[in-house]
């Protein structure tokens, strides 16, 4: 019995050490990115291209029951300064049952020759499937994608196309800014989260020539790159993340343009937010399962980029890992007599909790500083609330994935609810 007990304690020890190590790696990564944004060399190599022979580009707007917002984005796209003859606007009405179709048809009538709509009445649901249908009909080399709730500014299309003059660039991602930031407490917290994610995380990865994530909207892809990789993955819940890692494996670069900003709408209700983050977690874990080994083995990709890609793939596993770490430390504290055995581990975990958890908050505070919006940073302590909600939601999503036929498709895609009136 004594021996078995010793083995269990050793196993717990090793598990907790592993959890702490992984989480510390992520904490260090947060600090590294944040300090890079504060003190490092900032890379914006393509933002200055304001004059060029702009190529023809197709802007795809997947729209499933988007009657509240679709008109706004079409109006905004028609006002951009991209040469009219080189801009194809392609709204994809994806099995909508509301007034989306009528609104699109009205725009087609009012602006003859400017829009090339697609009405999809059947077929596989989900954005990936809709994008595959659209991609097959695109006759330009560059495609940009906007979610229907986005409102692009006048110069945004040029800014997002400019990086494609670099023949190594396969995908471009711009910055997303919540337009309904002040709607309620949740949107204010999400506004902070988004700022940390884009202003610090994405831009730092761009600065360090690592792997910025193509987020599926306010961005675009080079069609020859996408087609060489086999098109969109319709089985993925996050086709954007999936495309990012396939591009990296195919030796294409994904670049981030921090100054190419666009308004979006963030969830105003907690249940919508929970559903959104659970979908992200499942889709991201799906990509982890599919691409972590190929990325590790891809010797043609520089080591630093591979490490970053692996850490990026595992980012949604941190929630469940943190929970496991907490449970293990509690077991150590209450169930193992002679706490001294695990004291060092316990101290390490406490140190991490004091410093590591703060890494994300430090990153968000830095984003507030860079955005010159210091007052909203005062809400940071309330970020603990969304931190816990995210932690639980992501952990449940991961558990559901483990319990279901593991990582083999068959996911149900839920559309994110819109709140604009």
């Amino acid at each position: 019995v004594q021996e078995a007990r010793s083995v269990i304690i050793d196993a717990l020890n090793i598990s907790l050490c592993t959890v702490i190590f992984i989480i510390c790696v992520y904490a260090a990564r947060h600090y590294w990115f944040t300090f890079n944004r504060l003190f490092g060399l900032q890379r914006h190599p393509y933002v200055d291209i304001d004059t060029a022979n702009w190529p023809r580009v197709t802007v795809v707007i997947p729209a499933h029951n988007e009657q509240a917002v679709i008109g706004h984005i079409l109006e905004a796209l028609l006002q951009t300064n991209y040469p009219e003859g080189k801009l194809v606007i392609m709204p994809v009405n994806d099995r909508s049952t509301d007034g989306t179709r009528a609104i699109i048809d009205d725009f087609v009538r009012r602006y003859p020759g400017r829009l090339r709509p697609i009405h999809r009445d059947s077929g596989k649901p989900g954005k990936g499937a809709a994008l595959n249908v659209a991609t097959a009909l695109i006759d330009t080399q560059i495609m940009l994608i906007f979610d229907a709730d986005y409102i692009p500014g006048r110069g945004l299309i040029r800014q997002l196309v400019a990086p494609f003059f670099d023949p190594e660039v396969g995908a471009v991602m711009g910055r997303v800014v919540p337009q309904n930031a002040g709607a309620n407490g949740l949107t204010r917290l999400l506004d902070l989260e988004r700022a940390g994610g884009y202003q610090v995380d994405q831009q730092a990865r761009m600065n360090l020539d690592l792997v910025p994530l193509y987020g599926g909207t306010v961005g675009g892809l080079r069609l020859s790159a996408l087609r060489s990789l086999g098109g969109w993955n319709p089985d993925s819940l996050t086709e954007d993340t999936d495309a990012t890692f396939r591009l990296v494996l195919g030796q294409w670069k994904v670049v981030y343009q921090n100054r190419s900003e666009c308004y979006e709408e963030v969830p105003e209700k907690w249940h919508t937010r929970v559903r959104q983050i659970m979908r992200w977690a499942k889709g991201h874990n799906q990509s982890l399962f599919n691409y972590v080994i190929p990325i590790i083995r891809a010797k043609h990709i520089p080591f630093s980029r591979r490490v970053d890609a692996v850490l990026l793939l595992g980012v949604f596993l941190i929630g469940p890992l943190l929970l496991v770490g907490w449970v293990l430390s509690l077991i150590f504290f209450y169930a193992v007599p002679g706490v001294s055995q695990g004291l060092v581990i316990l101290l390490a975990f406490t140190a991490y909790t004091g410093l590591g958890n703060l890494a994300v908050f430090f990153q968000i505070a830095c984003a507030g500083y860079l955005d010159r919006s210091q007052k909203r940073v005062l809400l940071l302590p309330f970020g603990l609330l969304s931190f816990v909600v995210n932690l639980v939601s992501i952990s449940i999503a991961t558990l559901q994935q483990i319990m279901s036929p593991i990582f083999r498709g068959g996911y149900v895609w839920h559309k994110t609810e819109r709140f604009r009136t």
């Binding site: 190599p45 393509y46 003059f165 190594e168 007052k375």
Partner: protein
């Protein structure tokens, strides 16, 4: 009860003590002083002429509200003092301005004018006719509806835009934005940052190059669309002298392109890039580090260097039909070059009177 009271009080005081740290958060949560969306400039097109357009709008707004266009002085609706010149007889400077060599009023000039030297114009200025600036004048901003001529050693601190031409004398320092709807001609030596014009001539501007064909020019706008082959190279690459290439080239190391080569696609180097003399590249050129361009080259697509860009004498960037952009942290352009479109030095751009050549670490 007494036994419980002590710990409860301690708990309450501790809780209160800790919650003090949350007071600023609670105040911001309830008062919502910073709850508006972050500002995204929906109308901002990143246009170099942004300040010029805004200044023109400002003037038109003022004229709509009674600011006169006849000679004299006055104040705008926002209490800015202004002075209008309509004939050459109107004095450019008041006695006190002449004494201090400083003009703080908004100058609106409706006649052909020559400005005196060594004056600082601390307010934006408008010139409806040709304007010739004195040596060593300093401008905050100037909007010219015709030609603007800058004397030797002039400084532009924010912006300058001319509907026709800007001709700058030697030793000018042109910070901020310099734009013209037709031509900018700089003299060596000078310093610049961001410029845009149908043609930017660096010093004399050499004779037209005889190394392009109309077919190549017409294909330049199709580069992204047509060239889909990618030649990936691990490490450095040297493209031999006189080579012809119809492909995009991406190298993880340095790139050296031999003299007289012609490349229809684009070239990307993740290290330094060295382009020899008389090279024609129809697509774009991107260097993650330094980019050195030899003399008599013709680069038709965008030119991007993340560090330094050196352009050899008599090279051409873009074409009059298809203008382009050249951007780097530091740019040195030799005499005789012509750029069609934008030249944007993030930190500092220079044109030297003597020929500058860099040795690169390219293979």
């Amino acid at each position: 009860m007494n036994n419980l009271g002590g710990p409860l009080l301690l708990f309450a005081i501790t809780g209160l003590w800790f919650s003090l740290a949350l007071v600023p958060s609670i105040i911001e949560w309830s008062r919502r002083t910073d709850a508006t969306p972050l500002r995204v400039e929906q109308e901002n097109e990143g246009d170099i002429r942004h300040f010029a357009y805004r200044f023109r709008e400002y003037l038109e707004h003022q004229f709509d509200r009674g600011v006169r266009r006849s000679s004299g002085v006055g104040r705008t609706t926002d209490r800015t003092p202004f002075r209008v010149m309509t004939t050459k007889l109107d004095p450019v400077l008041t006695p006190s301005e002449k004494k201090r060599c400083l003009v703080r009023t908004l100058l609106l000039i409706y006649c052909q004018t020559e400005l005196p030297p060594d004056i600082t114009f601390a307010h934006d200025m408008y010139a409806a006719e040709n304007i010739s600036c004195g040596d060593r004048d300093i401008f905050r901003g100037l909007l010219g509806d015709k030609n603007v001529t800058l004397g030797e050693g002039c400084v532009v601190s924010r912006w300058m835009h001319a509907r026709r031409s800007i001709l700058a004398g030697p030793n000018c320092t042109l910070y901020g934005r310099l734009s013209s709807d037709r031509i900018i001609r700089l003299s060596a030596p000078s310093v610049f940052q961001r410029m845009n014009a149908a043609a930017i001539v660096f010093d004399e501007g050499g004779p037209p190059l005889n190394i392009k064909t109309d077919q190549e020019l017409d294909r330049s706008h199709e580069t992204i669309e047509n060239v889909i082959d990618r030649w990936l190279i691990k490490g450095d690459i040297e493209i031999p002298t006189g080579a012809t290439l119809n492909s995009n080239v991406v190298a993880s190391g340095d790139v050296r392109i031999g003299e007289g080569s012609r490349i229809t696609g684009s070239v990307k180097s993740n290290g330094n890039m060295f382009i020899s003399d008389s090279v024609v590249i129809v697509g774009s050129i991107v260097s993650a580090s330094d980019l050195t361009i030899g003399k008599n080259c013709h680069l038709m697509g965008p030119v991007i260097a993340e560090r330094k860009l050196l352009v050899g004498e008599r090279s051409r960037l873009g074409t009059s039909k298809y203008p382009t952009s050249a951007t780097a942290r530091r740019i040195v352009i030799n005499s005789g070059c012509v750029a069609f479109g934008t030249v944007w030095a993030k930190e500092r751009g220079e044109i030297h009177s003597e020929i500058v050549r860099y040795e690169t670490q390219a293979a």
